[in-house]
Homo-oligomer: 446 residues x 2
C-alpha cells in the first residue's frame, strides 16, 4: 500500500515537551514492549508516536511505501528518529491539509513516479492505535484502489458521545457504506443524537486514487507540476482537505473501524495511553493516585500526596497540572516568552545549558558518522571543548582530528564544522553581544 | 546585647532547596519590604532567614554583638550572605547544642575577650518572627544580666495545642516566672492539658552569664581553653543543652512572648510564612488554590488546577507535594543518591550544568574582589571559558589578566586560581576518568 502520514502541529498543548521544533509526535513516551521483537538497549526503551506508527505500518505491510508530509522544521527530527532514508514531502511553510496533501500527491507522482491510477491513503501521524488499525488502513487502501467511491474515509465506532470529533453519518450500518452527510464537532446533547443515529467519528483518514486528488488540486490551484507547486507554496490559501474537497464530493464511502483509536492531543489523553506512570527520573510516594510524570531533565522529581496530576519537565519548562485542566494549557503557553532549549537535529541534538546576556552555553551531541553544515557566524565567537568521542573539525578549509579534551576557538567569521567518527559531544560556549540563531551563514565545502 | 545564633541542620526536610551545604536558613524566600529602608535592586529583593534575623537584631539594637555558631560547611554561605566580617564560631563537626554552645562561649571569652560576667542569649537562627521578638530577646538578655536566675528561657504563648514543641510549665502567670517543670513533645490530648494548665512552648532560647555556661562546660568536659576545646571537638559526646544543663538546673526563669513566632521546619510551615505565592519564574492559573512555588531554575513553571501544593525546584531536583504530605519528605530524600548541583561559597557560587561519565560542566561565579584558593587536581584537566567580567588567573605562579572570551586550559597537576576584579563568570569543563570533589590539593601562593 501507499501511505502518506500527515505530520503537523507545533503542539503547544503538550508543553513543555513539545515546542516549535518538536511536535508531540516526536516525544519518546511509549515503552517498547518485548513483543516488538527488537533488541532494546537500556536508554532506548521508549519510542515516539511517529516511530511507533512507522513500525506498525511495516509490521502490517513490509512492502508499504510511506511518505511523511511535513514542514521544513520537522525534517531534522524525522531523520533523527526514522533514519536518513525516510521519504519526506517537505512543505516550505504551513498551509493546512489541502495544500499539504496536494503537494504530497504531486511529489509522489512527479518525483517518485507513482502512477495516477494507484491509490494512496492519507492519515494523521499521531493516533494511538494497535496494528489492527493499519490492517484496516490496508483494507481502506484496497477499497480506494477498487475505486467504487472517489474517496474512502475511516469512521471510528464511537465509544461515547464525544464533543471533540466531527461525525460521519453513513447511509447504512454496513462495514462499508455510502456517506449520507458530515457533521461538525457537536455539543454533548447533539453528540448523543449522532451516536444514536449511527454516526461515526471522522478519523481524518482519506483514501483515493492519486489522479483524483491531483485533478482536484489543478482545479483549485494554478500550478504545472511538483516543482511549480513547491515554489508557489507560500502563496497558497490555507484550507483543509475537508472544506476544499470532501464537502463537494458526492461519491464518498466510509469504512467502519472498531479497534483502539485515541487522539493524544492533550496531556489528559496522552497520559491515558502511557503504559507506565513514570518516564525518566522520578519517584511518587504511595499516597499519589492517578499521577503521571515525564521527566526529561537530569534532576530527580519527587511527588508526594498528589491526585490526578500530570508533571512534565523538559529543558523548556515544568508543567504541573490537574489532568482535566491540562486541556486549557495553550493560551498560557502562548503567553510565555518561550525559548527553545532542546532540539533534535538530523545530525544529533543540542541542549541549552546556560543563558547569559552575552553568552550561551550548549551541549552539542553529534551522532556517529554525522556532521553539521559548514557555516560561520558574523557576530559571535565560539569555544568548543570536546567532552567525549572522536571526530574531525574543519576550520576555514583546514581539517584536523579531534578527541575528548581538545579545545577549539572559533573567531567570528571563521567557517567551521564538526563531524563525528564515534558519537561526539561538545560543550559550545557562544560569546558575543548579539547572539541569535539567525546569525548563521552556510558555506559550500570546497 | 550579646547574641549567639545557632545555625544548624542539613535541612533535608526542605529538599530540593536545602542540601548538605545549603540549610534552610540560607534560602532567599522572604521578600524585602520597603519599610526595611534598604535600596533594593531587581535581583536582590529576597532575603534568607539568616539575613532577615541578622537585619532584625541590628534594627532592634545597632550595638548588638552577634556571633553565629555553625559548622565548617556553612561558613562560606554565611560569608556570602552576611559579608566577610560576620563573627563565626566554627564547629569542626556536628556535636549537638551543648558542645556548640560551650564552644561559642569559649570563643567569646578566650578569643573575643568577653567578660564572664556578661550575659549572652543563645537562640536559633531560623524562627520566623517580627522585630518585637528581638525586643523580647533584648529584655531576656537584660534579665540574664541581672542574674536573678541562672538561666532565662523564652516561653512562647501557645496559639494552639501543638504536638511539635516541648512545653515549659511556669509557676505563675507573671510575664517572668520561675519554671516549675519541662515537658517533652506531647500527643494532642496531653498538649491540650498543658495549654489549659498555662504551659508555654519552649522557644529554644537560653539567656545566661558567660561564666555560668563555661563553668558547666568545664564540669562536664575536660578542656583548658577555646583552642583545646576546638581541637577535641570531634571526641565530644553529642548531647543537647537541654539534657546536659537545663534539666539539672534549679534556678530557671521563663519570660513569656506572645508575638509572631513560627518554626519553619517543613514546606508546610515555611510556605505559610511566605508573603508571596511565587518566588522565581512561575505562573499559576486562576483555578489554583493555596499553592506556593519557589523556582530557582532558569526555566518557567506552569501550574494548572492545583490545590494545597508546594512546588520547589532547584538544580538539585523538583518537589511537587501536597502541603500536609511535605512533612514526610525526609526518608524519600535520604533514599536519593543526591548530588550537590549548586552551592554558595565565600567567593561566589557554582552550579553544575552538565554531568557526563568523563566530564563535568560547571558555571562558576566569582564575586567582585573575590578569588578561589590556589589549588591543583591530580586526575582531571580543566578548560575555563570566561563568559563575563574581568579578573586575573594564576597558573603555576604566573599571573595574567583575563576577560570575557578568554580560554584557559589547565592540565592535571597545574596549580591555579582565578580572582574577580568585576564579577567574573566562567564556564568550567572538567575532563577526566575519575572526577571527584576530593581531588583537590591546596597550595600556598608564593
Amino acid at each position: 500500500m501507499n501511505v502518506v502520514l500527515l505530520s503537523g502541529g507545533s503542539g503547544k498543548r503538550l508543553w513543555p515537551l513539545s515546542n516549535e521544533v518538536r511536535s508531540k509526535q516526536f516525544l519518546k513516551i511509549f515503552k517498547l514492549s518485548e513483543e516488538c521483537g527488537r533488541e532494546v538497549s537500556d536508554d532506548a526503551v521508549y519510542e515516539s508516536m511517529v516511530q511507533r506508527v512507522y513500525r506498525q505500518i511495516r509490521a502490517v505491510d513490509p512492502e508499504a511505501t510511506v511518505t511523511i508530509a511535513t514542514s521544513k522544521s520537522q525534517v531534522s527530527a524525522l531523520q533523527n528518529q526514522l533514519g536518513q532514508d525516510v521519504r519526506i514531502s517537505v512543505e516550505p511553510c504551513r498551509r493546512d491539509t489541502f495544500p499539504a496533501i496536494a503537494l504530497a500527491a504531486a511529489f509522489l507522482h512527479d518525483k517518485m513516479g507513482v502512477d495516477g491510477e494507484e491509490a494512496v491513503v492519507v492519515c494523521p501521524v499521531d493516533p494511538c492505535v494497535d496494528e489492527d488499525y493499519f490492517m484496516a488502513i490496508k483494507k481502506l487502501w484496497e477499497l480506494a484502489q477498487e475505486g467504487e467511491a472517489n474517496i474512502v474515509l475511516m469512521g471510528i465506532d464511537p465509544t461515547y458521545p464525544s464533543e471533540k470529533y466531527g461525525y460521519v453519518m453513513p447511509k447504512t450500518k454496513d462495514p462499508v457504506a455510502e456517506v449520507e452527510t458530515f457533521k461538525e464537532k457537536p455539543d454533548l446533547e447533539t453528540a448523543k443524537k449522532y451516536v444514536e443515529a449511527g454516526g461515526l467519528w471522522n478519523g481524518g483518514v482519506f483514501g483515493f486514487k492519486l489522479s483524483y486528488v491531483l485533478d482536484r488540486a489543478h482545479e483549485l490551484m494554478d500550478f504545472t507540476d511538483y516543482e511549480d507547486l513547491f515554489a508557489k507554496y507560500e502563496t497558497l490559501t490555507k484550507i483543509s482537505f475537508d472544506y476544499a474537497v470532501v464537502e463537494h464530493e458526492k461519491s464518498i464511502a466510509v469504512m467502519r473501524f472498531a479497534g483502539r483509536w485515541k487522539d493524544l492531543g492533550t496531556w489528559n489523553t496522552l497520559t491515558e495511553a502511557m503504559e507506565e506512570r513514570i518516564v525518566g527520573n522520578a519517584r511518587l510516594n504511595e499516597t499519589c493516585e492517578n499521577v503521571h510524570v515525564i521527566n526529561e531533565l537530569g534532576i530527580p522529581i519527587l511527588g508526594m500526596g498528589l491526585k490526578n496530576l500530570v508533571i512534565a519537565a523538559s529543558p523548556d519548562g515544568i508543567l504541573v497540572s490537574d489532568k482535566e485542566q491540562s486541556s486549557y494549557l495553550k493560551p498560557y503557553v502562548d503567553a510565555m516568552d518561550q525559548k527553545i532549549m532542546f532540539a533534535e537535529k538530523s545530525w544529533g541534538s543540542f541542549r541549552v545549558l546556560d543563558v547569559k546576556p552575552e553568552s550561551l552555553t550548549i551541549l552539542v551531541t553529534l551522532n556517529p558518522g554525522h556532521g553539521m553544515n559548514y557555516h560561520s557566524h558574523q557576530r559571535r565567537e565560539e569555544v568548543w571543548t570536546i567532552i567525549s568521542g572522536e571526530g574531525e573539525v574543519i576550520l576555514d578549509g583546514v581539517c584536523r582530528e579531534v578527541k575528548a579534551g581538545d579545545v577549539i576557538c572559533i573567531p567570528a567569521g571563521q567557517r567551521h564544522l564538526a563531524r563525528a567518527k564515534t558519537g561526539l559531544q561538545i560543550i559550545e560556549v557562544q560569546l558575543g553581544k548579539d547572539i541569535s540563531v539567525t546569525d548563521k551563514i552556510k558555506h559550500e565545502l570546497a
